[in-house]
Amino acid sequence: MTIAGIVDILDARVLCGSENLGQEVTTACGSDLMSDVLAFVKDKTILITGLTNVHVIRTAEMLDIHCIVFARGKIPGEDVLSEARELGIAVLSTCHTTYTTCGLLYQAGIRGNNDCVPQARPAAKAE
């Protein structure tokens, strides 16, 4: 599927990067924890998040993420958008919640991309 297809499915607004709507998307990752994103994303993927600060864009830059979807109608500030624009990252905003956004994309064949290894149980706190 292309980013344009994602815009369609999510009924999304394109905030920047409309010149990249033809790029292919195969996997997605939904998270508000940037270090989880940094830990689990392996391949070119899109990021679905409810966080709108500039570190979302920087995280995407580090991982070569080429499309970010802000859920629940969130719109980042102009400073954040201008960084995305400079990097050629397509930024979308959809009114669906993160949960629904992920569900719609999964239904359309976009899969996750992780190899989760369960964490050890946290050690009991010494009181």
Binding site: M34, S35, A39, L51, N53, R58, T59, Q119
Partner: protein, 142 residues
């Protein structure tokens, strides 16, 4: 001693959320221009960003240094304190002392150090309370 053809120092200030990540972005752009393989570059970028954010969030400030030789990249993070009381614990996934401000920005999952260790070909950490922390990460280029 290995010969490094390039040595770049990037100062990282404590608690400066607006500019944190700039050093890693510069490093990534530079190495990309120099033709470093994109899969290796992604591992370097992730480790660099994590270590840079740790400098900004947890330390009193420090320096990120990137050194390049024909066959490897070495990243060194060093700061002047406060040091890590229990390194073993800090290296566990999920351990974090990050404050509210960092958490609100999407950090504080306690994934940074494990993530660096996973991405680097060699990883070492030394820390002394009150003196500071040094992390060295080596990435083979072929």
């Amino acid at each position: 001693m290995r010969e490094y053809s390039m040595v770049d120092h990037y100062p990282v200030s404590a608690r400066d959320f607006a500019t944190a990540g700039d050093a890693s972005a510069s490093i990534k752009r530079k190495l990309k221009q120099l033709g470093v393989d994109s899969a290796i570059l992604r591992r370097i970028a992730v480790a660099s960003y994590e270590v840079e954010l740790n400098l900004m969030i947890h330390s009193v400030g420090g320096t990120l240094t990137m050194m390049m030789s024909p066959d490897e990249i070495l990243l060194v993070s060093s700061d002047a304190g406060p040091g890590i009381p229990d390194i073993e614990k800090a290296l566990q996934e999920g351990f974090s002392t990050a404050d509210e401000e960092a958490r609100n920005l999407g950090f504080g999952a306690g994934m940074g150090l494990p993530n660096m260790r996973r991405n680097a070909d060699e990883f070492s950490i030394q820390s002394a309370l009150g003196r500071g922390t040094e992390i060295r990460m080596r990435f083979r280029l072929q």
